[in-house]
Symmetry: C2
Subunit: 148 residues, 2 copies
Amino acid sequence: MAKDFSQYKEQLKELVKSKGLKYSSQREDILKTLFNSKKHLTPEEIYTEVKKINKNIGLATVYRALSFLESEGLINSISFGVEGKKYELNRGEHHDHMICLKCGKIIEFFDERLESLQEIIAQKHDFKLITHELNMYGICSNCQEEES
Amino acid sequence: MAKDFSQYKEQLKELVKSKGLKYSSQREDILKTLFNSKKHLTPEEIYTEVKKINKNIGLATVYRALSFLESEGLINSISFGVEGKKYELNRGEHHDHMICLKCGKIIEFFDERLESLQEIIAQKHDFKLITHELNMYGICSNCQEEES
DNA sequence: TTATGTGCAAACTCTTTGCATTACC
DNA sequence: GGTAATGCAAAGAGTTTGCACATAA
């Protein structure tokens, strides 16, 4: 069952309170923008989106909020070769990415075998695995059709 | 058997010739710097290194050479969260990376099971896999000892 | 000789920071 | 009322580009 936005909002409120910080509508709006997005967004895209709700927000606030939210684990970022950093809401389900080199489409997937295999490899190197990032680059099925 | 530098130099010469371009000592020096390095280097670090051989080289030349060499597959780049893009010589052996979050150490590894599993997953999504990048983040064995 | 490659500096893009002001607790 | 958060503008870092000159073919 997917969480609805009020649960993320609650999470943010508790986090802010537990740290003795203050709640702000800006951080909420940014979180909501990521909640509503089906794809990964750049800081610039988030800024544009949030402005539709709150015309007065500044780009610096977006950057500040993003690093805060990421350091607290409410959101995640991925960085692909050329396109720079992109953010997504941490919906509590780890996944990896396939990125189409033609159209830029991002396919999210999860495979348990991949997870456990990495754990085995880490152990072999006496490495304490905390997290990982797997990006598979190639051509998505749509673009393959267009090629032929 | 590991290749020695003359083979990379030859590869560069042939590439340049086949494209109707010109050979330059700068590109060679940059390639040699990557050949001699045991770790991944940032453009700035490469610039500093190359300057020891060729005092007159410009940073712009380093950037231009790096994107040329990368687009031709002679070198590879990886980009970790904060530290930006880093380059390494393509020694013809694909590998993935473990990155220690404490000391920044990079461990290279290769595991065939990981490769074939990705191929299987890609097929399931009708995705034509071309390349991938797997970064595992955690604590290396040295840093684990220090912790306890 | 002629086009590519280079070095330098300026331009650009992305991100961070300083500061006065606003707004939460 | 006191402190964190914001908006703005300026500063920084990293990278790219324009142009005149150097150099390989």
